[in-house]
Structure formats: C-alpha cells, structure tokens
Amino acid sequence: MHNFSFSRPARRPAWFAVRGQIGRREYWMLALVGLVVPLLLWWSLSASGLVTKVFMPGPADVWNRAVLWFREDDLLGDIGISVYRVVAAWGLSALIAIPLGLAIGTYRPVQALLEPLTDFIRYMPAVAFIPLVMLWIGITEGSKIAIIWIGTFFQMVLMVAEDVRRVPMAQIETAQTMGARRSEIVSLVLLPAAKPAILDTLRVTMGWAWTYLVVAELVAANSGLGYAILRAQRFLQTDKIFAGIIIIGLIGLLLDQLFRALHRKAFPWLYLR
C-alpha cells in the first residue's frame, strides 16, 4: 500500500522490504526463533509417541546420550581427533591452494595448464578414492586427512583463482601505470585485494571439509565423531547418531562465527559506511 501522507512522520520501513534492514535485536530474535521452533517441533513429535524412539529419539534422549558419551566414552577425545583431521586436511589444502589459485588467477598460461585439469578432478567423488588412498597411504592418520583433502583442495583452488580474477582490472592497470613490476602487482595489489574473498572461500571450504569427515572416518578409524556415528549405526543407537550430527553442526557454527569475526577484524574497511 502506498502512503503519500506528508503530515505524518516517516514510517519505519516495512519488514519485508526487498534487501531491507532490520535491527540487531530483531535479527537475533528471529535467529533464535529459527533455532527454537524446529527444536520444539522435534520435541513435540518425539513426545507425542507417534514415532518410535529408534526412528526418532527426543531431545532429552539425545542430550542424555551426549552426557554419557562425554562421561564414559571420551567425547572430547572424539571431538579433538575429528577437529584435528578436518583442520589438518583443510590447512594443507589452503597451504597449496592459495599460492596455486593466485597463480591460476594471475597468469593465463597457468590457468590453461591447471584449471581444466582441476575442473576434471573436482568432479571425481572423494569417496571413490578411499580404496586407492588405503592402498597408497595405508590406514594411518594420513589416509583420513587425505580423503578430506581430496574433497576440499580442488574446489578451493578454483575458488581462490576466481577470487583473484575478480580483482578489478583498473586496480591492476593503475599499479602498472605507476610503474609496478609484475611481482609487485601480485604482492601489493592482487593478494591484498583478493584477501577478503579468499578468507570467505576458506570459511566455506572449511564447512565442506567437515562434510567429508564421516566418509574419511570410514577408513579403519577407531576414534572421531564420524567413527562414533558409524558405530552407533551398527548398534542402532539413534540417539548417539543424533548427538554426533548435532555436535558437528555446533562445531561448524562456532568455526563459522570465528571466521566471520576474523573477517571483520582483518578487513575493517569492508564494514565501514
């Protein structure tokens, strides 16, 4: 509805304005609602008794199982080893993907040489590499890290390359007309310009790395959140499966918020207006 009244003070903009703004308090209220409502639905569904506990345990069962896991089954140890595997694989990916992506996004010959290859490999299912990885690396810690790495690295390279390619040409050419050498354009223009996008890529790929965790811990593991979920399946401990999945979700949420905080801290100019 249009409101052309001039006498009244300006109204607050509508909640559902396209790309509109809402207050900080409203934002967190809605976020809370978004988290609590599914929890309530879950609770009421399991409490109603319509679904047996084997199919869907209630929040209380899951909580109790998690507490039991913590007290008697070394939950912290499982979390620790899983975080280690994910972060190690992801860190190793980043260590190689950032310089490689920078090279692909900067130099056309490098792009021609490596991008089609990477595009090809990234469509290969990481899971299918399990037998090969076991054959090549064995059933050491390295094999689990390798699986997650395969799932993460190739995507990451392409995304970093794209981040670098998105640096406006005018920024590069300005440096050139100020006499910048090639290495200076890379270190003083491309890298600092692409850094915020690269950190976002790292945040997103960290999430992907977690999705490969359960698969990686299929490989003759005897610890870890993914392994615990798989073993719970064998014993039909649905509540433990729920607990494992939710814990992974919570770790992901935490890491994501850490990345966002780091982004705000490292690139303050993006958050100024």
Binding site: P168, A170, Q171, E173, T174, A175, Q176, T177, M178, G179, A180, E184, L188, V189, P192, A193, K195, F267, P268, W269, L270, L272, R273
Partner: protein, 291 residues
C-alpha cells in the same frame, strides 16, 4: 638535438593502427591515427561509442599495443606502461584496503619497496602528498577508507594519486563519467586548476561534448568503424575557463557542430531519423502482436 627535443611534441602518434584479433576477421579498432599533443596541452577525445577513443588512450598509456605505427613520448617509443604517464580510470581503481593517504602515496611505496628512495625523498614526497591532499580538498579525509567517500571524493583521490609522482602526461579515461552533474562541474574546475599548477600534458577521454569543450584546448573527434580521427577542433575560448562560458555563443556553436558531426559519423544524420527508424520497428512489432 636538444633544440629539436624542446620543439618536438610531447606525444606523437604516427599512423597508429590497432586490430583486435579475437575474432577470425579481426576488428579494426583504430586506423591511420596521426596526432601530436604538445607539452602542457589539454586535449580531449570525443566520439560515438566504438570509435576507439579509450583504446587510443590505453595505447598512449602502454596498456595496449598498437598493431602498427609509432607511439612516441618525447620522441621515444612507448614500450609499456610507465610512471611518466599516469592514468585515471572511471572507477574501481582505488585500493579499498588502503586509507586515502596510503592510496595517494602508493607510487612512493612502490619505489620504497625497491629501495629507490632516500629518506629525504620520502619526506619531500609526504610534503607533496599533503599539498595534493589540500589542493584536492581532501585534508579531512586522509585517514578514511575509499568506500567511506562519495564518488566525487574517490575520483579526487585517484587524481591525487596519479599526480604524486609528477607524471608528465596525465591520461584520463572518462574519469567523471559516473558522477552527478553538480559534482562533475566542480571536478572540471578542479582539474583545470590542477592542470595550471602541475603543467602536465593531459589527454582526456569523454562522451560528454560539453565537458570536452570546457576542458580542452583542442577537441579531437573520433569516428567509428573503423576507429579514426575525424576532425580536430580548436576551442575558441580563453585559457582561463569559467562556468559561464558554457552559455557563450561560440561555445554553443562548437557544441552544436561537434554533436552534429558525431551523429553523422555514427550513421544517423539526425535524431529524427533515429526516432523514425525506432517507430518503424515498433509499428512492425505491434502489427505482429495484433496479427
């Protein structure tokens, strides 16, 4: 030798030809371009889109190579971009992660990076940076980030940054194209002021004929397909320009003449012709929908 060097034009273009061979045939962007720009001259390039004015500017800047012909600065062939020819782009050229002052001093940072500067030179440079900041009316913005500034302020920073290393040639590619009319007028007088202070040679690309006349001592009109220089107009206005001159009869007459010529070179004799062509296609399409 020394004498001829003094008399020689700052920028000389001799039979410049540029072909973009992305397609099989190759698109001729520029053909038979001859142009001399004297030291401390302000030349503006205008023309219909596709006339190659930006390409020509980029060739002078060394960002594109001429397929054939010579591009000389002070009699020396251009081999690539260099700090003697600064360039100002329409937008996205500032470094958003650097504060205004750091952006302006970027060229010094490049030199310091190579250990080419002594500490006294660095000091002199920061004096110049302060001076440029003042001239550009940016004294209060030194510590701000580019995205905290308006479009007009951002372009002032870009110009100050380009001027810092005292380039002999300033190349401007529609630098005010994204600004609103009022800001643009302010920028016009600012750039003329800077032109007088710095004694640089300026080549300025624009699609705005009024801007071209107001700023330029000469207006170079380019024509498309293939891109070429059509006519060069000498602007019959005193060196010291003033906004009121935009209403002077000689200004208006030149504007009319140039606009007319742009229409002719783009294949449309009059706007009416264009309208007729448009309405023709409209009536056909409306007939189709009725049928």
């Amino acid at each position: 030798m020394a004498l001829s060097a003094v008399r020689a034009p700052k920028i000389q273009l001799r039979q410049v030809r540029k072909v973009f061979d992305a397609h099989e045939q190759g698109m001729v962007a520029l053909q038979n371009v001859d142009l001399d720009v004297s030291a401390n001259e302000f030349v503006t390039l205008v023309g219909a889109s596709g006339c190659g004015k930006s390409t020509l500017l980029r060739i002078i800047g060394g960002l594109e190579y001429a397929t054939r012909g010579d591009v000389l600065i002070d009699g020396h062939g251009v081999l690539g971009p260099g700090s003697d020819r600064a360039m100002v782009f329409q937008h996205y050229s500032l470094y958003p992660w650097l504060r205004v002052m750091e952006n302006i001093k970027f060229s010094r940072r490049l030199q310091a990076n190579r250990g080419e500067l002594t500490s006294s030179e660095v000091e002199a440079a920061s004096g110049r940076a302060d001076a440029l900041l003042n001239v550009m009316g940016l004294s209060n913005a030194a510590d701000k980030y580019p995205n905290q500034l308006s479009g007009g302020m951002q372009q002032r920073v870009a110009i100050a940054r380009a001027l810092l290393p005292r380039p002999q040639v300033l190349l401007m590619d529609e630098p005010f194209g994204a600004l609103d009319a009022q800001t643009r007028e302010v920028m016009h007088d600012l750039i003329l002021h800077v032109f007088k202070l710095e004694r640089a040679t300026i080549v300025f690309v624009t699609h705005d004929v009024e801007e071209a006349i107001y700023l330029g001592q000469r207006v170079v009109l380019m024509a498309p397909r293939p891109g070429r220089i059509d006519t060069i107009y000498r602007v019959p206005l005193p060196a010291q320009r003033h906004q009121d001159m935009k209403h002077a009869p000689e200004f208006l007459a030149l504007k009319r003449e140039i606009l007319q010529r742009i229409r002719e070179t783009s294949g449309m004799k009059t706007d009416l012709e264009l309208l007729e062509k448009l309405s023709h296609s409209v009536s056909i399409s409306s007939l189709r929908t009725q049928g």
